[in-house]
């Protein structure tokens, strides 16, 4: 699992670079979902609220919500996922990234889990 990330309880990860946050779902989440066949992401410019539902990730058998780990404006979304949703399974922390968000309130990062806390969460599951 990649370091210097923060996590939500719903298995999103966040990588902060300056005032931008890159968002995706973890390998644990991707494994739980199985083969991902469809990803629906919010449009550029949409303002997200921390922990709100912002998109959908569909596996063969099920529909799952994507939650925003942080409030802010969507500045980029991964257009590769439309044609290659399997990137999320294959490289969830890299090529399977989903969104880039301009962070509205950095203090919200404190509400997220750090590496150790996330590992414990998935260990308990």
């Amino acid at each position: 699992m990649a370091q210097d990330l923060r996590y939500t309880k719903e298995h999103e990860w966040v990588r902060v670079e300056g005032d931008l946050a890159t968002v995706g779902i973890t390998d644990y989440a991707a494994q739980q979902l199985g083969d991902i066949v469809f990803v629906e992401l919010p449009e550029i410019g949409r303002r997200l609220t921390q922990f709100g539902t912002v998109g959908v990730i569909e596996s063969v058998k099920a529909v799952s919500d994507l939650f925003a780990p942080i409030s802010g404006e969507v500045v980029e979304s991964n257009s590769e996922l439309a044609g290659s949703p399997e990137l999320v399974n294959g490289d969830p922390f890299g090529k399977g990234w989903m969104l880039r968000v301009r962070i509205a309130d950095r203090s919200q990062l404190d509400a997220l889990l750090d590496q150790a806390a996330y590992e414990e969460l998935t260990r308990e599951a």
Binding site: G34, D35, V37, F38, E40, V56, E58, V60, K61, V63, A82, E86
Partner: protein, 370 residues
């Protein structure tokens, strides 16, 4: 039958599934493998090589006696009397009101001996209904569901993998025919039937022999790339093949005619049968809804329960849907008003807060090459 810790029934192959890394889920009171390597991989394996399925949860009901054919002709909508020994047909058991209680395959094992295979979710109900309906006929019902294991091999390489393991002449076995012999040295019935749209065989054995048959097929299939396949891929395979699933396309509020399966109902057969009056009426009045295939033309996956629209008017509901691994596009089956069911009609599926266009297409979505 062994009982899994959770209170679910376990098939004789449960330990093997777990050892193979299967994700186990509850299905009809059984602990069953939903996937091993992954649904897409397993689906593609069946379409291009072959896959092994544990279907031991299904029901096997033997009906034997002088009146076996007559009794089944009364209990079911089809005409088992018309089957030659060693042949089978697809059938249904309906309520007196004409609704479907289960879809079945009826195999004729002898002049006076039939095996009825029912869905796991309905096995007990079918057993009870048959027991009731055969009363008065010279016939005995022997429910061997819990004593019978079923291993299926499905895919283009099925014949070459199974043939060396069996003394049943499977190369000569017609589609919907059944032979009696041995597989991997144990007594078995081998039927050329399946639920995937590929060539394949279903092997019925005593539960004590299931492991031996499974291991032999896995071993023999290894060089050919045969893999174990779970219920997840079983569902995507049958959906591509346009085959109905009880609980989705079929149920007590649906007649065979509405599901496009009127050919299964033999109104011309002699004598009364359960549901005759209601089905004659349904046939003459025409269906209230029609099962259609949908090819989703916009971005989104249509799923069970999503509403179907013709313009502003709600016309029906999606019964099954997924992303078709073979076609790479979303496909679905749905009920629509008969006037909206013509192939080529563009309807809309409600996917969350959007209306996504879907075209009515002729089933099946996939047909194998030969």
């Amino acid at each position: 039958m062994a009982q899994a810790q959770s209170g679910l029934l376990a098939t004789p192959l449960a330990d093997r599934h777990v050892a193979l890394g299967a994700r186990m889920v509850e299905f009809a009171g059984w602990s069953m493998p939903v996937q091993y390597a992954g649904i897409l991989d397993e689906h593609r394996a069946v379409r291009t090589r072959a896959g092994l399925f544990d279907l031991s949860h299904m029901g096997e009901l033997y009906v034997e006696g002088t009146d076996a054919a007559k009794a089944l002709g009364y209990a079911l909508v089809s005409e088992p009397a018309a089957l030659k020994v060693g042949r089978a047909h697809y059938s249904m058991i309906c309520s007196p009101g004409g609704g479907v209680l289960d879809d079945l395959i009826v195999y004729r094992l002898g002049e006076e001996r039939f095996m009825v295979v029912a869905n796991a979710s309905n096995a007990a109900a079918v057993s009870d209904a048959l027991a009731e309906r055969i009363e008065g006929f010279k016939v005995v019902l022997d429910d061997r569901s819990l004593a019978t294991a079923l291993v299926a091999i499905q895919g283009p390489l099925s014949l070459q993998v199974l043939a060396p393991l069996t003394d049943v002449a499977i190369a000569d076995l017609r589609y919907y025919a059944i032979g009696d012999g041995h597989v991997a040295g144990v007594p078995a019935l081998v039927a050329r039937t399946g639920y995937t749209g590929e060539d394949g065989f279903e092997v019925f054995v005593e539960v004590a022999s299931a492991g031996r048959v499974w291991d032999a097929l896995m071993e023999a299939g290894r060089p050919a790339g045969v893999v174990p396949v779970g219920l997840g891929a079983r569902d995507t395979l049958r959906l591509e093949a346009g085959m109905p699933l009880y609980g989705n396309e079929l149920g007590p509020d649906t007649t065979p005619y509405e599901a496009g399966l009127g050919r299964v109902v033999k109104l011309g057969k002699e004598g009364d049968f359960v549901g005759r009056a209601a089905l004659e009426k349904a046939e003459s009045e025409g269906p209230r809804k029609k099962l259609v295939g949908l090819a989703v033309r916009g971005r989104g996956i249509a799923r069970h329960g999503y509403e179907l629209f013709a313009g502003d008017r709600r016309t029906g509901v999606v019964t099954s849907g997924t992303l078709s691994p073979t076609l790479g596009e979303p496909i679905a089956m749905a009920y629509a008003a008969p006037s909206d069911a013509e192939p080529g009609t563009i309807l809309e599926v409600g996917i969350r807060d959007q209306r996504v266009p879907a075209e009515v297409v002729v089933l099946p979505f996939y047909r194998r090459a030969t």
